[in-house]
């Protein structure tokens, strides 16, 4: 009985793994296309592509990082913060995401700082 459970679990894992790999592969295509259009200045299209990538594969930290950058560029700072934080939750040790987030925070703090009387 115990052996049967292990075998079943193993088979399930094997079945899920290619599906995950497929999702990441599809999401990666969206991310790459997003980068290409962002480099041409088409940021709205890039946002669409990176949003699609995160829908396809919600655990794709790079897509969330890129999405955060695009939101920043569009001045949607609350959305950018959310995307950066999700990306860092997924990959807390990613130095490049951390660096982007630190730069974003500098601007965000400046934008939200209000010294009212």
């Amino acid at each position: 009985m115990r052996t049967a459970t292990f075998v079943l679990a193993g088979l399930l894992a094997l079945a899920v793994a290619p599906a995950r790999a497929d999702a990441r592969g599809d999401a990666k295509k969206q991310v790459e296309f997003g980068i290409a259009v962002a480099q041409k200045g088409l940021w709205r299209e890039a946002i669409y592509r990176w949003e699609r990538a995160t829908q396809i594969d919600p655990s794709y930290a790079a897509a969330l990082n890129n999405l955060a950058i695009a939101y920043e560029h569009e001045g949607e700072l609350a959305k950018a913060r959310g995307a950066y934080e999700k990306a860092l939750e997924l990959e807390p040790g990613n130095a490049l995401i951390k660096q982007n987030y630190e730069l974003f925070r500098e601007i965000n703090d400046r934008a939200t700082r209000k010294d009212n009387l």
Binding site: I35, I97, K114
Partner: protein, 248 residues
């Protein structure tokens, strides 16, 4: 065997590194920052002048008024009113008992506090607003004071060893430094109602070696240069340029 294993690990690591390096690209972005204050109801701005004090070498009122007007002319959509700045220090003393009169010469922040009633005088600012067709009024205080501090400074010294080889070594020394502190407070008043809409403060300091003679006016402009972006972002949207890393 171990050497072969180490070699394989090294080459795998190099491949991984190369792959990782190829999977990101730098991109330039411009982040738009919305203004803190909604000034859509105004067509004009009147930089009315400042209560200023501190160094006698710089007229904080005159220089700040002139600088802000010129910045607003080029970097804001509001039309800048060209008029003499208001004699705020005189206005503050008018009709006051002698024991309540704010000091004529402002030396420190405590002296400036005595002028706070002036900016809360709704009737006065409403009258000014009517006179200049209800603009957005910019006023406030500017304190520019000489400053001196002894601190540890790191400098690099050249040393030569017994073979005549040159080396540069960091040396930490205790040094007297002189400079200035600029503390402006910008107050934004609605010329239609005479009420304060917003106020913002800043503090910037600059220090030089004690033997370096830098004119006070140069220091003032250097410090104002740091304050101006935040002042402008109160009134008009700004774009902040930067670079970020896109990942694959």
């Amino acid at each position: 065997m171990t050497a072969r294993l180490a070699k394989t690990i090294c080459s795998l690591a190099a491949v991984a590194l190369t792959t990782a390096c190829g999977s990101y690209s730098e991109i330039a972005i411009e982040t738009p920052i919305r203004p803190t204050l909604d000034v859509s109801g105004f067509q004009r701005v009147f930089v009315a002048g400042f209560v200023s004090g501190g160094s006698e070498d710089v007229d904080g009122n005159l220089e700040t008024t002139r600088l802000l007007r010129s910045q607003l002319r080029t970097k804001s959509a509001l039309r800048v009113i060209d008029a003499d700045s208001l004699p705020l220090q005189d206005v503050a003393t008018e009709g006051r008992a002698s024991d309540q009169t704010p000091p004529a010469v402002v030396k420190d922040e405590k002296d400036l506090d005595a002028y706070s009633n002036l900016f809360a005088n709704v009737e006065y600012w409403k009258k000014i607003g009517e006179e200049y067709q209800q603009p957005l009024i910019v006023t406030g205080t500017v304190l520019f004071i000489p400053h001196q501090r002894n601190s540890i400074v790191q400098r690099e010294d050249e040393v030569y060893d017994s073979f005549g080889r040159r080396r540069v070594v960091p040396v930490r020394t205790y040094q007297e430094r002189k400079g200035f502190v600029l503390s402006p407070k910008f107050i934004f008043i609605d010329g239609r109602t005479g009420t304060v809409m917003h106020s913002t403060t800043a503090r910037e300091e600059i220090l030089y070696n004690a033997n370096q003679a830098t004119p006070a006016l140069s220091s003032y402009f250097e410090l104002m240069d740091r304050v101006i972006p935040s002042f402008l972002s109160t009134l008009s949207s700004q774009k902040i340029k930067g670079t970020r890393i896109l990942l694959q």
